[in-house]
């Protein structure tokens, strides 16, 4: 069972806001899902390495050669709020 406090903490980490009703529902759903996936925690897999990539590759690099990028206009084109070629964000403090 996940506590309400934990749900609130995770929501903050994820920058998501939920009202009280949603939080309660989410608490239930997450608890149910976590209880389900909990079955994995009980397996003894200590001898196994975790797999990050199903198809193993290594040492994939690119050469240090410039590639054409975007113009300033293109870069700003989807910006919700731009000023003098930069993206505007509300005060951080």
């Amino acid at each position: 069972m996940i506590s309400r406090k934990e749900v609130e903490h995770v929501a903050r980490l994820a920058r998501l806001h939920f009202d009280d009703e949603e939080l309660a529902r989410l608490q239930g759903e997450l608890s149910q899902i976590i209880d389900y996936v909990q079955q994995l925690a009980e397996l003894d897999l200590s001898g196994l390495q975790p797999t990050s990539h199903a198809v193993a590759l290594k040492n994939v690099f690119r050469p240090d050669v410039p590639v054409q990028g975007l113009t300033q206009d293109e870069a700003m084109s989807n910006g919700p709020d731009v000023e003098r070629g930069q993206f505007v964000v509300p005060r951080i403090g």
């Binding site: 934990e6 929501a11 920058r15 998501l16 997450l30 976590i34 996936v37 897999l45 199903a54 910006g79």
Partner: protein, 491 residues
């Protein structure tokens, strides 16, 4: 042949190509044919989020301007695209409000390949938001309806792509598959759906859901088309470090029997969860395989039962990180009137994401957070190792593995939305294939309650050529009628 005697229901991509090459139809006429079809039925099916009539006709005109002898093989053949691919200058939403109005400043690698091959883009197809879902009910904009029964879901997340092809609103389409999102809707809509080996197709420009699981693949009316579209899109891409390409083109499948091939029937996928009707169709298909000379035997992959649990830790974890970039700063939706940055971030994301996406972001953030990483995420990745081993062991004894693609036929719209976990469990047969990075294809195998049932064939890494050959042989033998009884309804 006069175009108005052409019936889209008779057309595959190969047929379109033949007609274009013979000069029986022009690219413009072909495009108009499909645009007309979309106008006639998409009001009911709701497969398309965006139809680019102007762009399609412009491209078709450009193709027509070229003498036939100078055209590339697939030039002028129309295609539908899941709205998860970045197409430069074309709105790309991933079925989400947070990307409404987003126009990518670049083309996905596969989009570049389609353009170079001369295909005509009809438009963008509906999907579960950010590919999270198994019914396309999680789209922020509209629900797609299964052409076989408009009150039922087409499956997901590539529901728009599957429904589009089933309803002949395009000769073929591209979708993506992270836990079954090509194969399951293909099964529910009675079309062919192929998920290639992880790394066969470049992911550059595919909006990421779960980076280690996502793959792009074709949804088509027959196996031959799937093979051809795979050859167009596959290939190593220097912009995708995880891409390898295929060892060789798969070419045109031509196999007519299954002599000498050994098929393992995955025991865990034909258990209680499987609907009796589906089981019946599957059993018949297995008999068909035998009659074609294939040897079928049951095989157990015990670890696949933990597959869903592992998937619902790994996928949301990666997704929670992949979707963090949607913060309102550089593109997409931004909440207005926020006092400070924290408020802007939080309101933007809360307004822009739907409930399922939020749910998965929460699960993923939780699983990765301090204190839980080892018990959840790392443990799920160890489970993955176990699953890979089980499959490898099975492929020592068998050439291919088979199962029903989905434990059920298409369910009614709204039937499973109240219970997220129930929805997740319907991906039982497809998820382990993604965890292991294996190729898998769903081919229509029959009907239950008048609804399509798909057979899944799974192969070892990079066995697409053989797998498509086997699928082709079976498909030809089954010779199923694949036209949904869809009445024409004006949009």
């Amino acid at each position: 042949m006069s175009p108005h005697r052409l019936d889209v229901l008779d057309l595959t991509a190969h047929r379109c190509r033949e007609l274009l090459e013979a000069g029986d139809v022009s690219a413009t006429e072909l495009a108009r044919l499909y645009l007309h079809r979309i106008a006639a039925v998409d009001g009911a099916v709701q497969a398309y989020l965006l139809v680019d009539e102007e762009g399609a006709l412009a491209k078709a005109a450009a193709v027509d301007a070229k003498p036939r002898g100078e055209r590339l093989p697939w030039e002028g053949v129309p295609i539908g695209l899941k709205d998860i691919f970045c197409v430069k200058g074309m709105e790309t939403t991933c079925g989400s409000r947070i990307l409404k109005g987003y126009h990518p400043p670049y083309d996905a690698t596969i989009i570049g390949k389609l353009r170079a091959a001369g295909l005509v883009f009809l438009g963008k197809l509906n999907m579960d938001e950010f590919a999270m879902g198994s019914s396309t009910e999680n789209s922020a904009f509209q629900t797609t309806h299964n052409p076989w029964d408009l009150e039922r879901v087409p499956g997901g997340s590539s529901g728009g792509s599957a429904a589009c092809v089933a309803a002949a609103e395009a000769p073929w389409a591209l979708g993506t598959d992270t836990g079954g999102s090509i194969r399951q809707p293909a099964s529910l809509c009675g079309v062919v759906g192929l998920k290639p080996t992880y790394g066969a197709v470049s992911r550059y420009g595919l909006v990421a859901f779960a980076s280690s699981l996502d793959q792009i693949g074709p949804l088509t009316r027959d196996v031959k088309d799937a093979a051809a579209l795979l050859d167009i899109i596959a290939g190593r891409d220097p912009r995708d470090s995880t891409s390898i390409g295929l060892p060789e083109p798969v070419g045109t499948p031509s196999r007519t029997d299954l002599e000498g091939l050994r098929f393992g029937v995955i025991k865990e996928f034909i258990g209680e969860a499987c609907e009796p009707g589906v089981r019946e169709v599957f059993d018949s298909a297995v008999e068909m395989i035998s009659s074609l000379g294939g040897v079928c035997e049951e095989v157990s992959l015990p670890s696949v039962e933990q597959g869903i649990a592992a998937y619902y830790l790994i996928a949301p974890s990666e997704a929670s990180s992949n979707l963090a970039r949607f913060d309102g700063v550089r593109y997409g939706h931004r909440a207005s009137g926020a006092d400070d940055l924290y408020e802007m971030y939080t309101r933007t994301r809360s307004e822009g994401f739907g409930p399922e996406v939020k749910r998965r972001i929460m699960i993923g953030t939780y699983a990765l957070s301090a204190g839980y990483y080892d018990a959840y995420y790392a443990q799920a990745q160890r489970t993955r190792t176990l699953i890979i081993r089980d499959f490898a062991g099975a492929f020592d004894r068998f050439d291919f593995l088979v199962s029903p693609t989905s434990p059920s036929v298409a369910f009614k719209i709204g039937e499973k939305t109240a219970d997220p976990l129930a929805m997740y469990l319907s991906d039982l047969c497809t998820i382990p294939v993604n965890l292991a990075g294996l190729p898998g294809i769903s081919v229509p195998a029959g009907f239950s309650q008048g609804l399509p049932v798909g057979l899944q064939i799974i192969g070892p890494h990079f066995s697409e050529k053989g797998m498509l050959g086997a699928a082709h042989a079976l498909e030809q033998r089954l010779a199923l009628p694949l036209v949904p009884p869809l009445a024409e309804v004006a949009r």
